[in-house]
Symmetry: C2
């Protein structure tokens, strides 16, 4: 099984925008954020997704993920029922060499926060570093989407 | 809008079984039992259902219900992630005059409990009372399915 290494960076400026080949609008919330039975609702452009993730009671530590495509309208209705802290963002896709950066430009209560992510196949894999790439924040918990739902960027000091 | 009146009864004996025209196996659990965003998984014979019920944040007191049919296999997987207190029962359907009794014969931690329900269109509507019908328990909270999940019949004193 391939291990995915994800590295996260802040951005120095907005110049990434002119380099993006695709931008999606994402809105996501949780009908349950308990890690034993996460129920996530996601709207990506015109498509909705309902995802259940958790740890099976009967099979011990088996991790489980189930996803179903739903209509945009259903996703919008379900998002209204979600726990507070629904996240909205634009996701910009930027190709650099053989990698694709996903740059999340947050909206709503997280406006002002922009994070670039790159997925590598191993820890020391080399990658092109664009001029707009800033400080690395890999592993810093407050930047996780699940944390931003509880403690949004506008409340940071 | 039609108001549904549901009356619940205990049973005097098992003689109802020979009168049933259909029996379903039902297994149900909750991925979230919080009344603001109930997420219920149900397996009825060979079909699965995922239901979300709640109160919309944006629209105040609007009650919302969303249901999606899912495969039996998906329902079985999701039931393994549910909060403790998954309910299993047989539901027997019995026709009496113009009404249909639904008799729930509970299994698992609620074994021994049998409840008959009848749906009426108004409070004082008359209905045929079969010989096996016992004491009325309409409105007694401990008999609610949601309560049986938390305090099962085997723990009653």
């Amino acid at each position: 099984m391939a291990v995915e290494i994800e590295r996260k960076f802040l951005l120095k400026n907005d110049s990434f925008k002119s380099e993006s080949f695709k931008t999606s609008y994402i809105k996501q919330g949780f009908l349950n954020s308990n890690k034993n039975r996460v129920v996530r609702v996601r709207l990506i452009d015109k498509s909705g997704y309902l995802t259940v993730k958790g740890i099976s009671n009967e099979e011990g530590l088996t991790r489980f993920e189930w996803e179903k495509k739903i209509s945009k309208k259903d996703a919008e209705s379900l998002l209204k029922l979600c726990e507070k802290g629904v996240i909205e963002k634009y996701r910009h896709f930027i190709k650099k060499g053989k990698h694709t950066f996903e740059v999340d430009e947050f909206l709503g209560d997280n406006i002002g926060l922009v994070i670039a992510e790159i997925e590598l196949s191993e820890e020391n894999e080399d990658f092109d570093k664009p001029k707009w790439l800033g400080k690395e924040v890999t592993g810093i918990i407050k930047y996780y989407n699940s944390e931003l739902s509880k403690n949004s960027f506008k409340n940071w000091t």
